[in-house]
Symmetry: C2
Subunit: 206 residues, 2 copies
Amino acid sequence: MVDVADDQASGARGGRRRSESRRRLLAAARRLFVERGYHATRPQDIAREAEVGNGTFYLHFADKRDIFLAFAEEACAEIEAAIIGPLTGPEPWDQRILNTIKAALAFEANERKVIAAALMDISIIDPGDEEPTVRPRDRLAKLTAASLQEGIDKGEIRADLNTELIAHSLLGMVEQAAYHAERSNLSPEEVLATLVGFVTAGLARR
Amino acid sequence: MVDVADDQASGARGGRRRSESRRRLLAAARRLFVERGYHATRPQDIAREAEVGNGTFYLHFADKRDIFLAFAEEACAEIEAAIIGPLTGPEPWDQRILNTIKAALAFEANERKVIAAALMDISIIDPGDEEPTVRPRDRLAKLTAASLQEGIDKGEIRADLNTELIAHSLLGMVEQAAYHAERSNLSPEEVLATLVGFVTAGLARR
DNA sequence: GGGTCGGATTGACATATTGTCAACGCTGGC
DNA sequence: GCCAGCGTTGACAATATGTCAATCCGACCC
């Protein structure tokens, strides 16, 4: 991202105008990426859809990959918002798992493409400069891992698994399951039952 | 893919030359996509790397997305080749799971980017024309599901799960686990132990 | 209100990429 | 050797990308 600073930070001097443009661009990009895909979306299409001049695009983003990264970041923040409650709630661990998977599936039902973007391996589009910065997705995994660790500490979840590794695995799992469920028109109940059944059995202390 | 027909099919008349060009292009594309990413790879870079004229690129592929799709397909076939043995072997189910995950991880260790491409949601790059054709990845899932079904039929695996859904989930899981393992330098032993421990517990008949 | 200032926006344009096609090259058959 | 015909080529037309000098806008001050 090229933008000078955070939305508010760039002084009151036209800063509102600036962040409004950025917001419009990002929203437009999201619509177009989802509808037409990365390949067929041109920076100028995005500017037109956002109803800003086309030079404006480049004031906010370096190029198409840059705005795509921003889109992925945004998408990830949305999933995070959708599952943070269930994930960190006061319920027993198996109930938390169920609630979280349920929330994730409900969210993905509407915005599957958005989620696919959030969770995809960005390095396919852009390898970045060597060892990349943390992906947005890593934040999600960290949150999940912390929730698992809590279960371990309470003696509810088996302790012989690497929590971060499992957290990443679970993300991949839910993503793919949601994809398959949508394409095969599985009922949400069946999907939820299968995933929760599998995961709770996999994690439960013996 | 735009190519007229299968490699051999286009008569002996220069057909060998033709399929050689295609092969070189695909190999070049693979190197460049992995090294530079989709965004920064130009069709002409691919042609140059393949040491063919740049018009030749368009005789074999319609555009960049097309060759990317072919690359993903190829990658998927390779994973399939790597795991088909362990997956369908004569061992008991838990041993098959272990062998398969082991084979998948070993493969991914070398070619992680290739795998990420194979398993990613292609529709982000190119939504295709409405309801898309089966993704290469679906073949892998079908194979895995069949192997699970075999375990169920023998009464080794619990029967209350949707096998295809679990198969897709497992693919997502292994993909993400491999990604995380590489980035965090986890030992292969630890990764294997965690994944196998989790999966076998999740699937075992109670 | 009116003036001034500074960041934000704009779109025409220079640069770069993509895709086409008329001409040419190879190879196998006769 | 010559022809037939697919395959290849690279120059070039069509498109897309990214820059920047000119302009706009709104906040602030008098």
